[in-house]
Symmetry: C2
Subunit: 116 residues, 2 copies
Amino acid sequence: MSVAAAESVDDDLWSAIGDPTRRRMLDLLLIEGDGTATSLAQRLPVTRQAVAKHLGVLDRAGLVRGTPAGREKRYRVDDAQLARAVAQLSSVGAAWDARLQRIKRIAEAIQRTQQD
Amino acid sequence: MSVAAAESVDDDLWSAIGDPTRRRMLDLLLIEGDGTATSLAQRLPVTRQAVAKHLGVLDRAGLVRGTPAGREKRYRVDDAQLARAVAQLSSVGAAWDARLQRIKRIAEAIQRTQQD
DNA sequence: GCAACGTGCAACCAATGGTTGCGCTAGCGC
DNA sequence: GCGCTAGCGCAACCATTGGTTGCACGTTGC
């Protein structure tokens, strides 16, 4: 397996979900269905402006979409895009897992030959 | 499921594997067995010093261990710790996946009731 | 009409990923 | 033994980014 294969992940997507605050925001949006910068900030240990910036990042990554509604702007998760992100997460995990398994098998094989 | 449950990930571990350069370093170390700051820098688009800093981060996160060997310092992956990291990756993915599934089921249920 | 709420923009600060440059020590060739 | 080279560590510096405060502008409700 090539190195490039494991790093075939979309870097923007990964960096979007790499931030702990943004992960919690996605959690909240999934749980509550939607939310605004202000409503999310109330449930997070950061200011509204910080949340707004994060929403901008998530928006540019396509993970959320915001629609203006009067004086507020409601955001909701783009299911398909988040599913893509989850797939990439597990793909990296699977790649490492496979290599760890292979190393383990090799180690066991060596041990067997030494015990002969 | 609580928000805290999904964020039970060790933040240091996550931020360690959150950086794309560090992920590629882990890939290289897994493939080649071990490596030094210089040897890794040759295969990466960054300088030796940048690699050295990343190795420091990975070391503090417990993902790699370096042992001095003459004039060079060889690093190798800590299998157990990387396995832990992989587990946390998939745990976050699984949490989101579950919520997406639930949303999908609810949407389908609504559609069924509307078609009645 | 006006007070209050929600948003967006700008300036600023700290942390971090990256660079260059320098000095030091361990091995190798002679 | 002596010098040269390879590899490392440290320090200074720069750009990006996650965070803050402050302010100005549109929307809503009384």
